[in-house]
Amino acid sequence: MDERKGSEINPTKYGTTVERKSERELVVTRTFNGPAQIVFDAWTKPELLKRWWAPKSVGLSFLSCEADVRTGGTYRFVFSHASSEQPMSFFGRYVEVTPGSRLVWTNDEGDEDGPVTTVTFEERGGETLVVIHELYPSKKALDDAMASGSISWSGEQFEQLDQLLAAPGVSVERS
């Protein structure tokens, strides 16, 4: 992949990248313009987490946000969703909490198929690189997660595919 062209689509250095690292893993990276302690606080203090975790475009709004962020503690986020009368709950357990640098939690709402999420915070010269690593229990679990958000061939998805097609690094043979 051409790095220079890549930076043209992500004009800021604060772009979000996602990679399916293996059959079972997704990795998200993003850099924030602030020290690790502040970014970590935003992930671990419920009153702060609530302010960014569910932006309008995601279609969810918080009904409650409980998080006991310490090793062995639990969390439960309850959302309302425009397309559903039933609230949606996301919950799990913090497997590891290392203040300012590392968070590991389980995602238990999907029974045993949920991933284990590891987030690391790495400060470099006043900026913080955040890496989110989601490890699914099996290839099938990740494939199923992707299929459950299955797309229908509506215009919107085509627009997204068009954007993908327009991205450098994807060679398309015109036939």
């Binding site: 998200v28 960014w52 595919l161 993908l164 994807v170 060679s171």
Partner: protein, 120 residues
């Protein structure tokens, strides 16, 4: 930006780069259809449509089944182009969150600065 192996996706993206083939997928989403039906609908020759369907089939987007003299096409949504679209939506969801988080980080930085000044 989505990162994936471009070579693996070539067949799928090549299949989707053509407006007729996208039209065929939209048509098949509504109902299965024979190649003859599709050729009529898109004002094409049977041979031309067969070629398009072949490309879609190779990319895993469409499956066909011959019953008697009629070859029926149906949507065979599997594979990497679906994964790429999913990953892109997943990325957009995180990106939307992070835009909000940027604002919050900025606010907390300002607050820390102001608190620091007060202490002095």
């Amino acid at each position: 930006m989505v990162q994936y192996s471009g070579t693996v996706l070539d067949a799928s993206f090549a299949a989707l780069s053509d407006a007729t083939r996208r039209g065929v997928l939209e048509q098949l989403e509504r109902a299965d259809a024979s190649i003859t039906d599709l050729a009529e609908k898109f004002h094409m020759t049977l041979t031309g449509m067969k070629k398009h369907v072949g490309v879609l089939e190779q990319a895993g987007l469409v499956t066909t089944e011959k019953v008697g003299r009629v070859r029926t096409c149906k949507l065979g949504l599997r594979g990497l182009e679906e994964e790429a679209a999913w990953i892109e939506r997943y990325r957009q969801r995180w990106a939307a969150r992070f835009d909000e988080l940027d604002k919050l980080v900025e606010e907390l930085k300002q607050k820390e600065k102001a608190d620091g000044r007060k202490k002095r």
